[in-house]
Symmetry: C2
Subunit: 512 residues, 2 copies
């Protein structure tokens, strides 16, 4: 069957998994109760300290068929997933569902554990590297479920993901489980994704390389949610944790995009005292933040809050008084990680408060402006950030569709072409974010406004911005690089893309 | 039937309410899942601001037979309970269960609403004043359920209390529901009891007299848990909120008790670097804190943490570096209320983290020393803090049985007699805290150690402390004031005293 944005979702997938297909960004009105984790009473005097990962796995009662979860705050420096799954494999436990907030290049050893039957299901925000490549070629019998950060929080709270055991790496923890990311060798700042796992998993394990005196304060994860604590040599590689993605771009094309984006924001009507924003970590996005900062200083405007994965430039704006507060679900660099424990207006938030569509109001709902990237965007403004031009998974859903749905102005920034590949196309290969939630596309060659936002069209016209129909930008791209060959897929579904509300917005098939 | 500490619990009460009787402090091993509140999706652009209490009650869908909840952080200055229940009464809604974290003198107008059938069930930590008097004389058909602070958190998480609508007063809140107690006319500091209601109630209402700009940070209650916000003229009387209970006593008897208590603590083996403690707000308790402070300075000892309702002396010890951190479920004075927002080591905790016996480790589990008061204590060390010598309810369960169960050293401080009333008796009229969890009684006339703590007996003997069998202290009391007349009760059960684990430890009958 086809869903409301005309993506073909195979009937057998829907039936087998009792899924709903996407019906619009706010079509689902939940009528359920939150999933309740198992109640466990820890008595005075009980010790939570366990000597090894193997011992801790035994104590949790992990069995074939269960669901284990992880967070991705250590990004490409993460040692936890491999350490735990390797141990589980040695213990002979099979058929597990791995529910990580994301997976990346460093997790290639999961390929072996998928082949040997230890891991048979995966849900994650994204996949990269060899693991993504193999999965894109049909490694797994069951499709990976791609969830946004808000969608994962929703799924956990709804019991769509029932976590039996959460294995949570913590840069600092005490023996009773109070855990934080603010200090230690593997400092990562916010533990925003892990906080949800700790609250809803039946068993919660803290793995740390920095056991500190009780009480470890402030605690991102509370002792009242933690079953066991284990100290290991190393939980992550600091150089992989702080990705260094926040260097300022000097790429003239990125700067041109950023200049156009800045103008569009300034003339959108949302750029006024007390506005709020989120920008990403890409070169153009960071340049937008830099340009907006200058506009704010020039015009005497301050922002109410900035949101997201937080980077050094955001921290600087907080410290300059240009932004009153930062809501931080994930720190992208050491400056952010060090700020969160020092500055009371730099606030750690969990993934549900960040972006869950089915709570009583996530922070994304209060966003005025979000600047997002795209691998592809089509003439319906649908955005792909999950698969490359070869159809291989190489990205992550992240907070893309969450912030797009929440923000008053959702702006996609992207170069019109990348190498020989057009960014603006007739139909994106896979949809993460539906066009209905996207307002503006800003490229190096011009700006396109979603026709449903005639108010913005009027404002941008008056400001003499370089406005085009999106079809015109597509034509410009195609005329420059030609129409790329279609990607060839098999019939095997290797990924289900879940919209933040739990419906299926698209599927990813194996590439030939 | 009789429970394990020989208190008679009428069979019909047990059967009618499907209750268990008390079997020992750690006898219950929960095998349930947490109660999940209803999931409600608030969309971008939805407003939570409502113009009046009546309008908000309509919006919540409050109906006959439902459960409404309140917190008691405004203590005797609370305007919220009366404001809300008066409005509900005018709207004609009946047969409600009122689940307040506590009730006090100011809530006498509930008498009318019990008589007219608006409120037919109550659960609370305590009752005082006219309301308590009337209930003790049989005002209500259904018995009040007395729960400790930890027991209430347990009951809410377990779904024993299913809150339909929580009406939560907040000294500061923004229009999206981020609420806090740190600033405003009705400043009360920690909102530790309210936090649980906000997380588990189906509908959550914030009532404030101080609507502030979004985002109100730090938020004790999060926007993601709040349905509606209403601004009213006044939510409380500041003079009733800060009780001024923290003045130093000059009463020589209190000072004598405190001196004995200090010696017992110092010689208990628990008084060493990194120890932890909780003391109450009574004159003798505060004097203990003062004496212990001096001992700490003299011996170069610092405490890991202090816990509880927090008072000015605790804040001073934090600021002096004598205590590394404060865990604060409730601020008893303005000094504490002002400190919690300024000092990163003064940490707000919710009632579950404070004292819930059925989570993975409440802070009470980490207590070394707790100093508690008693209205009566018997020769089995059972303690009554709920009814006076006339059998009338005039107290609260509070954190008494929670901290007693958790702490390594549980010390009761009390004068041997009060006026013509002995404190040490054969059998307390009502049990809040079972003797099994009490280690030491310190009076102005001497110290008694629970026989199960022979280790303490040895230590105190070596230190030449004035040790007596508790029977000897009882005899001393009776010899001084004589045996008081027995209180006469009817057969009507007006109160069920629930132990923290959800079992019935005692019942309160109406006085004749």
């Amino acid at each position: 069957m086809k869903n409301v944005i005309n993506r073909e979702i195979p009937d057998e997938i829907i039936e087998k998994n009792a899924l709903n297909v996407y019906q619009g960004p706010f079509a689902i009105e939940p009528t359920i109760r939150q999933h309740g984790p198992k109640v466990t009473a820890v008595k005075p005097g009980d010790s939570k300290l366990v000597s090894s990962i193997e011992e801790i796995i035994k104590k949790t009662g992990l069995k074939d068929g269960m669901t284990i979860s992880f967070h991705h705050h250590f990004r490409n420096g993460d040692y936890i997933v491999n350490m735990v799954v390797d141990t589980i494999a040695k213990m002979g436990i099979k058929n597990l569902t791995l529910a990580s907030s994301s997976l990346t290049n460093i997790h290639a050893s999961l390929i072996e554990h998928i082949k040997n039957g230890v891991v048979t299901n995966i849900t994650t925000s994204g996949l990269r590297g060899e693991l993504a490549e193999e999965i894109s070629r049909g490694l797994m019998k069951n499709p990976v479920i791609i969830r946004s950060h808000g969608g994962r929080a929703r799924a956990i709270e709804a019991g769509d993901i029932k976590i039996d055991v959460a294995f949570l790496g913590a840069p600092a923890a005490d023996e009773y489980g109070n855990a934080s990311g603010a200090v230690g060798k593997a400092v990562c700042g916010s533990l925003g994704y892990a906080k949800i796992d700790a609250q809803y998993a039946d068993k919660v394990v803290i793995i740390t390389d920095n056991l500190v005196e009780y009480p470890n304060l402030p605690a991102s994860i509370s002792q009242k949610d933690v079953d066991y604590v284990v100290a290991v040599e190393e939980i992550g590689d600091p150089s992989g944790i702080a990705s260094g993605a926040t260097r300022y771009t000097k790429n003239p094309r990125d700067l041109l995009i950023a200049e156009n984006a800045k103008k569009a924001i300034v003339h959108s009507g949302y750029f006024k005292d007390g506005f709020s924003f989120q920008t990403g970590t890409g070169g153009a996005s960071l340049a937008v933040a830099r340009f907006i900062r200058k506009e704010m200083i020039d015009k005497g405007i301050t922002a109410s809050f900035a949101l997201g994965g937080i980077t050094k430039p955001m921290v600087e704006m907080l410290e300059e008084g240009l932004v009153k507060s930062l809501f931080d679900v994930q720190c992208f660099d050491l400056v952010a990680a060090n700020s969160i424990s020092k500055n009371d207006n730099h606030v750690e938030i969990d993934a549900s408060l960040y972006a869950n569509p089915h709570n009583k109001g996530a922070v994304v709902n209060k966003l005025d402006v979000v600047v997002l990237s795209a691998l592809e965007i089509d003439t319906d403004f649908n955005v792909n950030v999950i698969t490359g031009s070869d159809g291989v998974i190489r990205g992550a859903s992240g907070g893309h569709c969450d912030t797009a749905a929440g923000s008053k102005l959702t702006m996609i920034v992207a170069p019109l072409i990348r190498g020989r590949i057009p960014t603006v196309v007739d139909k994106v290969s896979h949809v993460i974010t539906p066009g209905e939630t996207v307002d503006v596309l800003v490229t190096d060659r011009g700006i396109a406004v979603n026709p449903k936002r005639q108010d913005l069209v009027e404002k941008f016209k008056q400001a003499n911005l370089p406005l085009y129909d999106i079809e015109k930008l597509r034509d410009l791209a195609i005329n420059t690089v030609g129409t790329p060959d279609a990607i060839e897929y098999t019939d095997q579904v290797v990924g289900l893309i879940e919209y933040r509300d739990g419906t299926i917005i698209d599927v990813i098939k194996a590439i030939k």
